[in-house]
């Protein structure tokens, strides 16, 4: 039974991601599921509501390729580098299509995933004090504590149709072990209706220590083995963040033409992520030579 969890990434995306879905690709800088994002772009999924605390390069690519109608987020940029230009072009100039936004803070989104995983309707936090967002995002409301009378921020639960994660390792049953900076991945997974996880490797036994962050196989829809599937993000214990690529993305994505040319060559015209990585590696070797 559990063996059916393992499938090629293209098949998982075809089966479990539909046009119009709300989709959360999570991973706080670490373990960002780039390979899965590329597969969604390649399969030309449309009208997605993209959810992510920190939309960075992968959402820049998905937005620029026209996958998204809406973005739910709390910080959108290329960390340490600057803006994500395709996001800004979509939001400010509706290219390639208009993009609606629903903006929160990190504290709020973490709580919204927790509420979603708990199947509660909303989350409370001592949040947005003095912040102007509630004027524009009417899902940020107030609730009165029934015990103390304190006014607290209330935000709706997040329950994505699909959450997609990348992780280091799955065992033969499909149990997944996430190591290192874990962000809100566990909450985002357990909040979702369906979960796809790409992993660096499949092993017989996880041999994880007690209290490790494990996603049980019976909470997942698909597990796909995709080595280096988080590049240019990183997988702790496997490879480091490719900061040089993240810096290079700024110039690639600044103009529509250079962005489309890069995406066509590295995503649309390849069969899978392994080919994308080969192209990037070859380009970086040439640059170093």
């Amino acid at each position: 039974m559990s063996q059916s969890l393992f499938m090629p990434l293209a098949e998982a995306v075809r089966h479990f991601v539909h046009d119009g879905d709300s989709v959360a690709l999570e991973g706080f800088t670490h373990l960002i599921p780039f390979a899965a994002g590329h597969e969604i772009i390649r399969q030309e999924k449309r009208h997605l509501t993209l959810i992510r605390m920190t939309p960075d390069i992968i959402y820049d690519q998905m937005i620029g390729m026209g996958c998204a109608d809406k973005l739910v987020f709390s910080w959108g940029g290329n960390p340490g580098v600057g803006s994500i230009h395709r996001f800004r072009d979509a939001y400010e100039h509706s290219w390639p299509r208009p993009l609606a936004i629903e903006e929160y803070s990190h504290a709020a989104m973490a709580a919204m995933y927790q509420a979603g995983a708990s199947r509660l309707p909303f989350a409370t936090l001592r949040g947005f004090i003095g912040n102007d967002l509630p004027q524009y995002n009417h899902n940020i409301r107030q609730v009165e504590c029934p015990f103390s009378g304190e006014r607290l921020a209330a935000v709706p639960a997040l329950n994505p149709d699909v959450t997609i994660l990348h992780a280091q390792r799955a065992d033969r049953h499909g149990n997944v072990w996430i190591k290192g900076i874990v962000g809100a991945q566990k909450e985002a997974a357990l909040a979702a209706k369906r979960v796809i996880v790409t992993v660096e490797e499949q092993v017989d036994e996880l041999e994880a220590p007690l209290n490790a962050v494990i996603l049980p196989h019976w909470t997942l829809a698909a597990v796909c083995v995709v080595p280096r599937g988080a590049h240019p993000s990183y997988a702790h214990g496997h490879y480091s963040r490719d900061n040089a690529f993240c810096i290079a993305w700024d110039a690639i994505s600044r103009e529509r033409d250079s962005f489309l040319a890069w995406m066509d060559r590295h995503v649309m015209q390849v069969r899978d992520f392994a080919e994308t990585l080969q192209l990037i590696t070859a380009a970086q070797r040439t640059e170093l030579a």
């Binding site: 605390m53 910080w75 936090l125 947005f128 003095g130």
Partner: protein, 261 residues
């Protein structure tokens, strides 16, 4: 010995000196991260640096490019989830100092990191957004702000309020429900501004060496209050400068290497 330094270095050194040894500091990326690590590598070896990626007590050898670099994870005492860092640590009042940057600050230390110009739906320049800052500004015991001073960043009126300082001054922060005390200093490349104890208006209380009051006033978008007793910030020491320059050199070397090739 004749020591020279840049305005950026003076700002980072002055900001680092405000961090006490042993305190728990929630660190923003960029200038705050450089200053917090300089403090750790000089006078405050026991400072507990916490990044919003959930790394507690981290001691990076190079400055992270992103808030979640593997360097931060490798060198951390422990790593906790995002709900845990924001709810059990920050909201619970376990953070002594929040260390923030921003695009704009006003005279009461309120911050904007959301957009510049136009309006929210049609911004002239959309910025990444506030991320963790709104709750750091509200819930950290105190807040240090580090920001280059100029008329475009020190503004009469914020385009958007992302994170609370002292609201409209006086006791308006106390009435807001924010549990932290608010900004204790804004450290710039020209000097140090601290809030007036009663009005809470940012007041120039220290000038960096070689900077004139007129320069600071000219770089401020509101009529700047200047303290009657104006200090001069002690210049960077040779030790502070060498530690900071080594840190930046290590960082540049680390980030220029591709990890795939």
């Amino acid at each position: 010995m004749n020591i020279t330094w840049t305005a950026d270095e003076m700002m980072t050194v002055a900001a680092a000196r405000r961090l006490g040894n042993g305190i728990a500091c929630f660190v923003g990326i960029g200038l705050p991260s450089a200053a917090a690590n300089l403090a750790r590598l000089t006078h405050a070896p026991e400072v507990v640096l916490i990044y919003e990626s959930g790394t507690l007590g981290t001691r990076p050898d190079v400055l992270p490019l992103s808030i979640g670099d593997d360097e931060l994870a490798e060198k951390a005492d422990s790593i906790v989830s995002m709900p845990e860092i924001f709810r059990y640590y920050l909201q619970a009042g376990r953070i002594d100092v929040g260390f923030l940057g921003a695009a704009q600050v006003d005279r009461y230390g309120n911050l904007n990191s959301t957009f510049i110009g136009g309006d929210y739906e049609h911004p002239a320049t959309r910025l990444p957004g506030a991320g963790g800052a709104p709750e750091i500004a509200a819930s950290a015991g105190e807040v240090l702000i580090v920001l280059k001073q100029g008329k475009r960043s020190f503004v009469e009126q914020l385009d958007f309020m992302s994170s609370a300082g002292y609201f409209s001054g006086g006791d308006s922060r106390e009435k807001s429900g924010a549990t932290g005390r608010g900004p204790s200093a804004v450290i710039t490349d020209l000097g140090i501004l601290t809030p007036d104890p009663v009005s809470r208006e940012l007041t120039l209380t220290s000038l960096h060496p070689g900077i004139s009051v007129e320069q600071v006033i000219a770089a401020t978008g509101w009529p700047l209050q200047v303290a009657a007793q104006l200090d001069t910030t002690p210049p960077p020491t040779a030790h502070e400068l060498s530690v900071l320059r080594d840190l930046h050199a290590r960082t540049r070397a680390a980030h220029s290497q591709s990890k795939l090739a």
